[in-house]
Symmetry: C2
């Protein structure tokens, strides 16, 4: 395809966006046709919806303040020509779309929970159907809004301002920061909310008062269900929205610099968009495969979900070949191998995440064994399981990076004459691998976002007394959701790592571009022996550990306030335990909201400020070191924390299933302690680290001109 | 000073070595003049000594096999000229001296424990005196043997083989691997032994049978005391021996390349040795200051120890100025600032370690508060405390590296015309900072090695029924030992990080030298955007996490076997609980020995094999990435684990002191769980990581020629 044709084909991005959004609308209509069940169910669902809405509104109000300050800063930078004048606007649209994706996902999830419970009353399959469709709304909204943001901006810059491709690429790579910032607030705030409510509800309700989970007498139970929505749904949506957009934008920048001189700049930029659009089509096809027989077992349900996602991935893998051939030309088919590397790596990481966290495999069973000698060995066992589980994802990412780099044309031998040119082609391979991994996000995210809905449905079934049978079905759906959530988490981490690497290398690209413009012969020495780079690495590692620590202690403090409140209600409100009086659910929701909003600020600001300060002291070299350090340690710690937490959770469930003495045994008590430690690991700190590593990159890219011009040791 | 004079002044290293060893001998004579007390005390001490000797013998037998295999491999590499013919021999001497240092330290420690207990019977001060002198034997033996190894090899290569300085430097930098390997085995094996015994003894004795710690009825109690010696004494000695030698050898290499062209190669190599010798003198002077009045309180005891170490450091700081001026010349006084940076950083890291782990400060008190809501929040609190505590040491190391680099003449601005020349001067600064930090190791290690002796003395006092008063005194000594141990651990980690960085940059030096020799124009691209470097970073991080996980689960498995054995003895041997029959102590010692030796092999081999395989696949660039990754993550994780473990330990002691309900309360139970989790954190995995990061560097340096010649993507 010629360069000009490629330039004028970007409207397919818009088509993909509209398709995805229409499909989301179609799915949401389908869900809303179902009944919410009894009046009690409607009332409970309304409370959850109300709590979630109230939280999100206040979260957005807090975040808007941050956005206003940032827009003013960016506007000043734009005036002094340190960023492109489009950046402040793009910052706002990125944040807005990211928030919108989370909001829509949360909206549909809180409308589907009671419907899922009611449908499960009829059959397991109907329950699955409602919950999965709700997940699909979220999945396709994220993808659709992502493509919409990119395409509209592209059309404005191309047809409105007639910028050359290289300038579009260099400008648009700065557009990720809005989405990243929004995502971080959503993830951290939501993560603290959900775990504060969960831990607080469990510590007093289950442990002290001895009432079951989701018991309506527990004042924190609504807050707990609200938490599932604001943390797992809205937070997850914002996270993956960001990876999706970030990987495409980074690939724009890398493509422009690798293929610009070859006269294929537009082509190299079109390819990621085209792959994303094809991914939307394949994902839609995949969802139609998710149909089950009426007598389905849980295992066959999982097989059905898998059939949908794997078929979509396989289809995308097949179609990417002619697409690459058509857009880049037959001599660049190595790029296709890079796309495949990303797709395969995503699936492989998902598999290993499941291996380490599911109780059908040995690691979690061994962890359950370690409860025999008490809580201490349970904790040591979980920590060492989590640490060991980092090896497989690292090896997979390592292989994917090397394969993508080499097959896309890069060379690791510095003897090559045109090392630099080959090198930038190779880097484009890393970017496109990330795009490949995320291409079928629509359906992957659907299976992932289905989990919290099923979880909520179980809570509503319990609270509205729907009976043992329905609760069993919602438990089956929930347990299936735990498996897909584990795979989804692995996928989110893997894609975040690849996206962060793509952003890291495009940061270097951007800085080198600035230096060439300034023309003072100043070059970056990014060698690892450069103390600025080395120290940057250390600072990056510190950022990961500080961030993880702050989010964890945020949960602890917020949970502490819930514990006090629930104890107070049990003490002061007469008749709660007899079921005569309703507890004050709203007070707990409000406390969680305030706690989460209060605790999310410091770690989020840390992520924005540390890269800038590091840059102002150590220059761009220090920033590159920081990005390397935070990406590597953030990835490893995220995998460690998510998998340790997941394994503790499932070891507890495994014991509750009757092993090691079952519920109430000493082993179960030890397992509950493990699970409680794992809660902030897997649902707050771990997933937030995904965003931390991307936000550091996007912040650095936006502030690159400032850093290049002002730093202490320049 | 002229170059020739410098060349012929290296005999002062030998003088320093002899002085240190004589002083160690003097101290050991002093200790041995004290009485071991009653017959029962003698008997118990003999059992501990016997167990420790038996363990060390078997450990050495296992390690010898590894050494034989390695020597054969190195001999083959020497024959094909891939390493210098001296390397196999130096590998053996390094390992031998390292083992000898550990052995002597352990020998004197097991001879001093009963003597300390008996002396404490007379007065607190006498007890301190014996225990500290025992620590001094270890401290000065380590320093003396380190200087001896370096000086003798230097003299052989200089006067025997008449090698030029650059060749001596390039050869001797390869000599660290023997000491590193030995140290790793000692640390991992000893660390697993000590914690398997400790955890095993506590889980059955304290928790199940309800008998106090160190109760003679507990079959694992002798093993527990043996563990203090083989882990904390022998392991620590081997660890710091290695940092000491490694930092000097790395500085040789960096000095030769930075100052060779300036005609000051010998001078730059003499300086680290001279500083080490001055450090020996200052340390000896410092020990004489450690004298107390008879009515000393614990606080004044700590002040006394501090007076000794700080005076030695201050003295060394003062004397280093004329020394630098005399050896390098007045135009290079920036190097002196680098030495100071190292010395100050060592003290500062020690201070922050104490801040985060001592119960006189807020972090540990807050951790004790979190026991109020149970074990789960205690664990979360400890983990987040440990993670937060990484910030200060990282910032300190970062500042020390930048200050050392810049003041020694390095430049961070790539605009400088002679960037490369300045750069190598700066790197020399990093090496000499590590030497500065370690210069007063004699006395620092003495205060550190004193701890386990006091711990053992307490155990002997308890077992031989010396009465409440003596036990109180030994407890005071032990508690003082915990404080100095915390400071010592921070110091060990800080020096390991600086030494590893110095080794990392000298690795690059060595490889660049080889490439220049080969003259094929092949250059290293160590840029962080090079996928080989990036992937190396990930592999390095993986190594840290795998290693930590393996050592932790090693402890868990070994402890499990002790639990089974102790339960068996309680069940099968009649009359243990009534105190009528002695339990079979030897069986537990034997089990710990076998467990430790079995579990130490896999993680140790991992540390040797992964850097070589990474090199064979990704080349020297991948190895540099790996070294960066393992140094940064290893440092952070070591600080995290050591400090979390230390804080849990002291939070427990704080509660035992009467806070939060005191002994036996629910808070205490939660704190005991925290402490048990912390045991392998702070005494096995954490400290072993110090060695891991250095061993990876020394292995890489030795195998550099192989890697440069053979790798997959060359």
């Amino acid at each position: 395809m010629g360069n000009l044709e490629a330039q004028n084909l970007f409207w397919i991005g818009l088509v993909g966006a509209v398709l995805a959004l229409l499909f989301a609308l179609f799915q949401s209509r389908k869900v809303l046709r179902f009944s919410e069940g009894t009046d009690l169910m409607k009332k409970i669902a309304a409370s959850i919806r109300q709590g979630a809405n109230a939280y999100l509104k206040r979260q957005y109000t807090t975040v808007v303040k941050f956005f206003i300050v940032m827009v003013i800063i960016l506007a000043i930078l734009a005036v002094v020509k340190f960023v492109s004048p489009f950046v402040p606007f793009a910052f706002v649209t990125g944040g807005f779309y990211s928030a919108l994706a989370g909001f829509v996902g949360m909206k549909i999830a809180t409308s589907s929970n009671a419907r899922t419970a009611h449908a499960a009353h009829e059959s397991l399959n109907k329950g699955l159907n409602v919950a999965f469709s709700s997940g699909a709304v979220m999945g396709f909204t994220v993808v659709g809004l992502g493509l919409l943001d990119i395409s509209v901006w592209f059309i404005i810059l191309n047809y409105g301002f007639h910028l050359p491709f290289s300038e579009i690429a260099q400008t648009m790579v700065m557009f990720g920061m809005g989405a990243s910032s929004m995502a971080l607030f959503a993830r951290v705030g939501g993560g603290i909310f959900t775990k504060a409510a969960d831990v607080g509800a469990d510590l007093v309700g289950k442990v002290e008062a001895g009432i079951p989970e989701d018991d309506p007498r527990n004042p924190a139970t609504i807050a707990d269900n609200v938490g599932d929505n604001v943390g797992d749904v809205a937070g997850m949506g914002a996270d993956l929205y960001e990876s999706y957009v970030g990987s495409i934008l980074a690939t724009f920048a890398l493509g422009a610099s690798a293929y610009g001189a070859l006269g294929k700049g537009w082509n190299a930029m079109l390819l990621p968009v085209a792959i994303a659009v094809v991914g939307v089509l394949c994902s839609i096809l995949g969802t139609f495969l998710i149909r089950t027989k009426e007598d389905a077992t849980q295992k066959s349900l999982l097989a059905t979900l898998r059939k949908g996602t794997y078929t979509a991935a396989a289809l995308a893998a097949i179609l990417a070949a002619p697409l690459t051939w058509f857009i880049l030309g037959s001599e660049y088919m190595g790029v296709y191998v890079a796309i495949l590397a990303g797709l395969v790596a995503g699936c492989a990481i998902g598999y290993f995440t499941e291996y380490y966290t599911s109780d059908t495999y040995k690691p979690t069973q061994t962890l359950a064994d370690s409860t025999e000698t008490g809580a201490a060995t349970t904790i040591i066992g979980g920590i060492s399981l989590g640490m060991k589980s980092t090896a497989a994802p690292i090896v997979i990412i390592a292989i994917a990076v090397i394969v993508a780099f080499l097959s896309a044309g890069g060379s690791l031998s510095t003897n090559s004459a045109d090392y630099a040119a080959l090198f930038s082609k190779g880097l484009y391979g890393i970017g496109i691998a990330a795009v490949g991994m995320l291409s079928t996000l629509g359906i992957t995210l659907a299976t992932d976002a289905y989990g919290p809905v099923a979880d909520n449905a179980g809570g509503i079934a319990e609270m509205s007394g729907l009976g043992e049978e329905v609760r069993e079905r919602t438990d089956a759906l929930d347990s299936l959701g735990n498996t897909t959530a584990a795979t989804g988490k692995g996928f989110a981490i893997g894609s975040a790592a690849l996206t962060a690497l793509a952003l890291l290398v495009s940061y270097v690209d951007v800085v080198n571009g600035k230096l060439a413009e300034m023309g003072d012969g100043h070059l970056l020495d990014l060698s690892l022996t450069n103390p600025a780079v080395l120290v940057g690495l250390f600072i990056g590692a510190m950022l990961t550990f500080m961030f993880a620590a702050m989010t964890m202690s945020g949960v602890q403090r917020a949970a502490q306030s819930i514990v006090v409140e629930v104890r107070r209600q049990f003490r002061e409100i007469q008749g709660i335990m007899e079921g005569k009086t309703d507890p004050d659910y709203a007070a707990c929701v409000d406390l969680c909201t305030r706690g989460a909003l209060h605790e999310m600020i410091a770690p989020s600001l840390l992520a924005v400020i540390v890269p800038i300060i590091t840059g102002l002291i150590l220059g761009a070299e220090g920033v590159v070191g920081l990005l390397g350090g935070v990406t590597v340690t953030g990835f490893v710690v995220a995998v460690f924390m998510s998998n340790a937490g997941g394994a503790w959770d499932n070891a507890k469930k495994y014991i509750e299933g009757g092993k090691h003495g079952g519920k109430g045994s000493d082993c179960h008590k030890a397992a509950v302690i493990g699970d409680t430690v794992g809660d902030p690991f897997k649902d707050t700190s771990g997933p937030s680290l995904n965003i931390l590593i991307k936000l550091c990159s996007t912040v650095s890219i936006v502030f690159s001109t400032l850093i290049v011009n002002f730093n202490l040791f320049k």
